[in-house]
Point group: C2
Chain length 640, copies 2
């Protein structure tokens, strides 16, 4: 029995710590398995009861009369339970109990010890702190999640991996209320062993799964998740992520909740895009977007997405369109507004006209008829036979119409904002990027020498020493104290005209050795950076330089390395570069040279052993022809 079978289709499960008190959380899995028709065998394990909820109970897993595929550990003494599972040959143990990496440094150590034992014992772990596993079509409800109080679970082809166990229930509950069904739902908890990446691997080859949703608070296994996402893409299964930590406040909340770094949001955006994961901004979008993605591939548009729209409510369609505008999506034609004039025939004809028009997707909005007369406008939508994606926004409370759309595989949205969010995310969706191979030898080079090796032009420089500060750089020059921090305005002398000027002024720097650089002038200051992000790994950044750009956080991030073409796409997205793109007839800067520099710096990701933690050229001066680095920093792994 492989991992997927043990996790999702166990023939026998043990509930270690199953409570005889039906009101307790730890009594739930047994109740739920029975209630939802699990066909395998369930063995309650409880040292003090002979019977639990009407079933024979066993003191320990080692006492059970059959081989257990999947045990759910519900007690505090997880360690003892794991030892027993090992002895009994249990394939996988899901752990509900917390008190591990979720509770601080001591817990982290406890978790590490637990994982070590699990490896020795040959038991795979889900959790700790996991609300368990649900397989709707397979009728496995090995979970404490109270959502399973629902009388019946809706089956479908959407699977979910969630770092929040309760939010797994939220999605299932909300989906059920409107006819959206699910395949497998997994609460990963602390991910001591089985993580999001490995689960995505399993779902990528799961016949019941057509789309994979991720509710994330962090990314603990970026490399494995990225590889799994590529495999899912190859298998035609889109992945959608909702991730907490867009704001510093949310990042802190996620961290305290999971005990893990949430990571820089921009870096995570880059990561998701890199491996073809669709990122949605709003929670309900995660639930509502699957029909828009199932069976489709990324359009990877090089221009804004274009939508055409038909509606029975002008105001209703405008609420979506207003939001689309904020997200950079365009309308291919004015909204076809059938307010108070909609009939089945007129709506169907208008919808067909939209579908035939030069657009990438069609927005079909419906007003009050969605509540009382689905035959007017909802029917033409659900009956449309179209390759082109249709998304619907029903303005009233329209549960029946939402269910009709779900049954027809049409993406239907409860709010205009989620509708626009989904369209924007769909258009932003990219196929996973091909990963550059190769290895870069950076020798032991540091500072300017390293950037020169990478191929980034650096302003002519030399080190000059007191008392005469002689050097070979042609005047005029800039002089900097070597230890001066780049953001500190002291310690820098500009426009030194000759040797005499230099000797006079260098004394004021109070430094024996100074950096002498040729003065350069250009059209714009930019920042080019590289970072081995602690969450997602190597990223490259390009942004406008200077204080204002820093204040506006105007920079573009991608996973490193990037090609020159990709660097050009990044540059095109930095607003402040308008000034070197010909805005208001300002002189154009050498964007190609800037792209070349960005690509060059990004190749630090290929350096053997990835020794560079962080590197930054600030400023990199963009000239009418060429670029030149004026200041740079490099930080190495393991350096103090």
């Amino acid at each position: 029995m492989n991992l997927a079978q043990a996790l999702f289709s166990p023939k026998a499960v043990a509930l270690i710590g199953a409570s005889g008190d039906a009101a307790k959380n730890t009594a739930r899995p047994q109740r739920y398995l029975k209630k939802h028709g699990y066909a395998g065998k369930v063995f309650p394990v409880n040292p003090v009861r002979k019977e639990v909820l009407g079933e024979k109970a066993w003191p320990r897993v080692t006492d059970l009369p059959e081989k257990i595929d999947h045990a759910y550990i519900l007690i505090e003494d997880v360690e003892q339970a794991l030892e027993d599972c090992g002895k009994a040959g249990v394939a996988v143990a899901s752990i509900f109990s917390g008190g591990f990496a979720d509770v601080g440094a001591e817990g982290v150590k406890r978790q590490a010890r637990l994982l070590e034992r699990a490896r020795v014992l040959g038991v795979r772990l889900l959790g700790p702190n996991s609300m368990g596993v649900i397989d709707v079509p397979g009728k496995l409800t090995l979970s404490v999640n109270a959502v399973l109080e629902m009388p019946a679970l809706p089956a479908g082809s959407t699977s979910i991996v969630s770092q929040s166990g309760t939010m797994l229930g939220t999605l299932l509950s909300r989906g059920a209320a409107r006819g959206l069904g699910f395949a497998k739902l997994i609460s990963v908890g602390n991910e001591a062993d089985i993580g999001v990446g490995e689960l995505v691997e399993l779902l990528a080859v799961d016949a019941a799964t057509r789309v994979i949703l991720l509710f994330l608070e962090t990314v603990r296994d970026p490399a494995r998740l990225a590889a799994a996402a590529r495999a899912a893409h190859a298998a035609g299964k889109p992945i959608v992520a909702y991730k907490l930590g867009r704001s510093a406040l949310g990042e802190a909340a996620a961290r305290s909740h999971t005990g893990a770094l949430a990571g820089s949001d921009a870096a995570l955006d880059a990561f998701f895009q890199d491996c073809g994961i669709v990122r949605v901004d709003m929670l309900e979008t995660l639930l509502e977007i699957p029909p828009l993605l199932i069976g489709r591939k990324p359009m990877s548009l090089k221009r804004p997405g274009r939508v055409s729209a038909v509606t029975t409510t002008g105001g209703g369609a405008a609420t979506v369109v207003d939001r689309l505008g904020l997200r950079g999506v365009e309308l291919s034609a004015p909204i076809m507004d059938l307010t108070m004039a909609g009939s089945n025939a007129t709506y169907a004809a208008a919808l067909e006209k939209c579908l035939q028009s030069d657009c990438d997707a069609v927005l079909a909005a419906v007003g009050s008829s969605a509540q009382f007369h689905p035959e007017v406008a909802v029917e033409p939508i659900v009956n449309a036979q179209a390759e082109k994606p249709i998304v619907t926004f029903f303005t009233p409370q329209a549960d029946r119409s939402l269910a009709l759309a779900a049954a027809a595989g049409i993406a239907a949205f409860r709010t205009p904002e989620a509708c626009a969010d989904a369209l924007a995310a769909f258009f932003a969706w990219r196929a996973p990027r091909r990963q550059e191979e190769g290895e870069l030898d950076i020798g032991g080079l540091q500072g300017f020498d390293l950037f020169t090796r990478l191929g980034v032009p650096v302003a002519d420089w030399a080190i000059a020493e007191a008392p005469d500060y002689r050097h070979s750089i042609s005047y005029p020059v800039a002089v900097k104290r070597l230890e001066a921090h780049k953001t500190d305005r002291g310690g820098v002398l500009l426009g030194i005209q000759d040797q005499q000027d230099l000797q006079k002024k260098a004394a004021t720097l109070d430094a024996k050795r100074v950096l002498v650089q040729r003065m350069e002038s250009g059209l714009a200051e930019t920042l080019v950076g590289y970072r081995d992000d602690p969450v997602v790994g190597p990223i490259v950044v390009v942004g406008a330089g200077g204080v204002l750009a820093e204040v506006y956080r105007d920079a573009e991030v991608r996973m490193a390395p990037v090609s020159e073409g990709e660097a050009e796409e990044m540059i095109a997205r930095v607003k402040g570069f308008a000034a070197i793109r010909g805005y208001r007839n300002l002189p154009r800067g050498d964007v190609a040279a800037l792209a070349k520099a960005v690509a060059a710096v990004s190749r630090l990701a290929l350096a053997k052993g990835r020794p560079v933690l962080e590197a930054e050229i600030n400023p990199l001066l963009v000239k009418a022809s060429g670029v030149v680095a004026l200041d740079a920093l490099v930080a190495f792994r393991g350096a103090a």
Copy 2:
């Protein structure tokens, strides 16, 4: 019978053009009035039928046996119907028919003629293009809106004025599904006569109304709406606006839908804040926010709002908190996370602790128990006796709990985004601003002279003429061609050192008369502007100067005039001014002098007859001490 009585509590209504075909839109008002129990008399008017839907019909309004308070015109020949209404002494006519300002220039003229006749005839108009009026407690359903197919309407104290008739139905439908009730709902259509402002006046004194919601696509009567909003504030009735047109795309959609300018979104923000209207960003927030506002006054905080939070789902609370962070709201303490440990007692105690803590509002999130066990966490919330606002986010599908919260007057949100939107809007809510009185005499002054009169320091300047270009300004100077456009980089000579230098270089400008200005240097370039906005009236703008700031749209807008204190608040909100606020130890600029200049320019709003359409100082140079205007433009009303 006054206007409010005729509109909302007519003793007799006429339905002009009532259809005998029950399937037609124009048959609806008669059906709906009967269905929802209207107690007054209903007279169908139809020239070709003796009977309509079982009621005696009359050929014309003038034939009716009784005085009609409120007629609903459902036919195309609105003009004839209006004449009849006039003859019959009808107090108010609502007009469903379109074909007026909603369809272009000819329609605008037709509407103007209609209004003129209505005034002559003494008939007040609602519409054209109005879906009518609903008074839920009063059982008046004089509307074609299909939402009235609902078996029963929920009564409450929330009234709505909407420029979209269909969205009125949307709000009523969605509210009904979760126990949110309404008082009066009015579809204003084209607002030929009775507009949003007048309706807010009526609702401000309406005993059944405690909060007023506005669904807006434009603002047609800003002065009257502002005055009405002040009256509503004085009466303790909060007003909330959802307004389309945040994006250019939405603005265009709203314009094509209503035939009216949507207006600059930043100017509308300023307008709403000025008169104490709460603006929400998301559609569902409009529906969900009332319990948070009813009975409360603006906190008018000078610091970020602070929230404390309790939850039975860590992930669920984090979805709200993440969003709060994006909106500048803070947490006063870490989230109290009772995941899987919540009981009625623990939740109640934690909630009480939150309420007692140093925060402005409490977020109470509830997971799956909200769906199946409201007694766990929802009950403590709805039973809490607290002055301090509590908002709730129930993560699962939880209709019963939403209704419990509604009944208890607790604001409950279906999505984390709307929950955060409501809290952010609540904290941003300000009491209406006191309006400055007084009148400013600007004589016939123009250009720099006008700004000097206002009290804004202007760089010493003179006009110099060819051939010798003599002047009295001390060197160094800048020289500009008089007709040079400020954004055109040609036509400006900087750093002219002496008379000889000037004569030599001025020749290159190819101009007989040039502007000579003393060279000035400072710490930052800023833009200070004034505009008589076509939608909301006089506004003042301050922003960072230069190309980058223009690209980033980093400017703050307020209704003019503003005091120096208010100008300082504006300046504090411009991100790019970080550079003169001491960011990274950069030298501080004279923010007080900048504020003085902003206030001075804003006083153009007080000029007799408001002759100035637009005025802009760009740049206004901020120095370590003082400010100085280097370039300025003024455009007058009626100028070519």
